[in-house]
Symmetry: C2
Amino acid sequence: MNGGSRVTTGIKQIAKLANVSISTVSHVLNASAPIGSEVQERVLGIARETGYLAKRRRKASISLLSTVLLVGTKKAFPKSDRNFVAWTMLNAFRKECQSRGIRLIPQIEEENEINPDNIVEAVAKHRPQGIAVMQDDRQCLIDMLYNLPSASVILSGQDQSMRVDTVAPSNRFGAKLATDHLLDLGHKKIALLTWGNRRVAKQRTEGFLDAFRQAGLDVPVSDIIDVGDYQQDVVETNFSKWLSKHNGPSPYSAFFCSADNVALGAMKALQNHGYSVPNDVSVMGFDNALFGELSSPSLSTIHVPMEEIGHVALNLLEEALTLPDGERSARRVELGCRLILRNSTGSPNTSFSKS
Amino acid sequence: MNGGSRVTTGIKQIAKLANVSISTVSHVLNASAPIGSEVQERVLGIARETGYLAKRRRKASISLLSTVLLVGTKKAFPKSDRNFVAWTMLNAFRKECQSRGIRLIPQIEEENEINPDNIVEAVAKHRPQGIAVMQDDRQCLIDMLYNLPSASVILSGQDQSMRVDTVAPSNRFGAKLATDHLLDLGHKKIALLTWGNRRVAKQRTEGFLDAFRQAGLDVPVSDIIDVGDYQQDVVETNFSKWLSKHNGPSPYSAFFCSADNVALGAMKALQNHGYSVPNDVSVMGFDNALFGELSSPSLSTIHVPMEEIGHVALNLLEEALTLPDGERSARRVELGCRLILRNSTGSPNTSFSKS
DNA sequence: CTGAAAGCGCTTACAG
DNA sequence: CTGAAAGCGCTTACAG
């Protein structure tokens, strides 16, 4: 190895960029001497921006987690519109593992459900330090995970028995955020388009209702419309039927849809029936899937930080491995969702009366 | 400095203890060479047990967080039965800061509420890297925190707008755990003793109701008794009145109390009225405060991991400082609660009929 | 409060 | 798969 100019972010480089000595950088990073506050801020700023701090932190825990068993069902793996959300999460998780030098052992079930026995077997075989389970939080699975020696975490799930770590977006608060926004715009009658009985859908429904409860309004349980599925074309067909039967969207001036796919299907149905979005009716989605940006009009939605779920999941596994077993409670982490305002929402058209 | 025998946990010491070379330890810790799995496990085990891994991790982030502003109201600071829970949390947080070498700047409000303006002032003056707020999650405060340059976290609170990090025990799931246990014991009529309108109390009430909902039973909204306060003596007086008026605890065979203080007051009132706990009625608390262990009978309760809240809060602050601002969603962390079974609960006495 | 220099801790290229 | 040895990165005792 020659003394070439390989650019490894280190204390040396930071010293150069901050125009101080190496010692000073070290002192700042370790609070080992009383350094002036301007210098301190400059050095820390550069250390953060160059990614040195993040690298240092990552390195500190890398050893603990060399092998992780990735558990999921087949349907989340190929990329498609249908499973866009699951795929995004999974892919971000894989990337994160790669950047931390963690070996992933996939344990993909052919069936629609994860079989706990298969996990036990895979753990015995590969002896991973950690287990990451995708979108399955049934109690039989949780019981099994809890009794395993490895640390484990469920991505996009929750454990009511509070024994296993979980990370998920804040579906309920996110839905409240969306509904609050529609209420703030002045909409009085808002319908929720949702589908089925999955936990995620239920949580979003609760958030929708929360917004009305907290505003002191009547809780609109009768304004919840189940469109039967979350595939765009199916939603379009079903919601078209609903529109025909109800003679247009009236009395609703806004539709909050508990997934972007649902929103896009609904928007098409509305447009086919001659309604202009957002002039006649507002439509709001949930997920911030890529294709929502490209629709016409572009879809207002709730951003779900799918990329961060993997990051947090790995942090939880690492923390579980650092701390002695008896001294750590299970953690349930919810990640904040953000309102993304595009062109499918607006104030209600007060002269609205179409039929 | 002489070459004396100072015992600094390091890679050298681990090598000695594990009977391998320094290089090998390094390889294991960095996965930089394919090391045999027995050796690997031995080295990692020793590295964890000696606290080397934890130290390494702590060191990696120590630089970020040298000064933290601790914000709270006066009432949580002196130690007493009344504020046992708040005091425990606060104290654990202080200890954690100390062990990580973080300087705490207390900003204690004389009033019963935190004044956002005072925080802004204190931040301008002391320029802390992080802000830790105790038990206050009003939106005006959150708005202020969100607009501040420092990272911030609320201990024992939650942010519905999902912009500021929070850590809290899982009150709702914890209450469900307690209620599930009473149901499992065979109790059919269970009353909830609670007080006031604070968020914590409300969350525990929801958990109580959840247990019935999920079991497919009637939701016992009419079995919620507000005892007006959480001080033991007040509860005792108020609940005694209730017992006199209702001619004993019938038809309830169990009382779930949303705080240990409430449970102890209720237990005394029951005993004064001639009821034996748990033979005639079961009583369950929530908090796992010290004095519950010493009561007679000792109190079954829900353990709340107050000591861990501080640990998690600091981890959140550190993480916020490591990651670039735009790339991180706010996090809401809930810590798992555990059932603590002592002597105040049992199966319902089927021949129970006292008056 | 900041830096030059000594030196410790850890990593790494290479040998076996 | 493991270790001896060279050497880099970071810390620290000390000077100013």
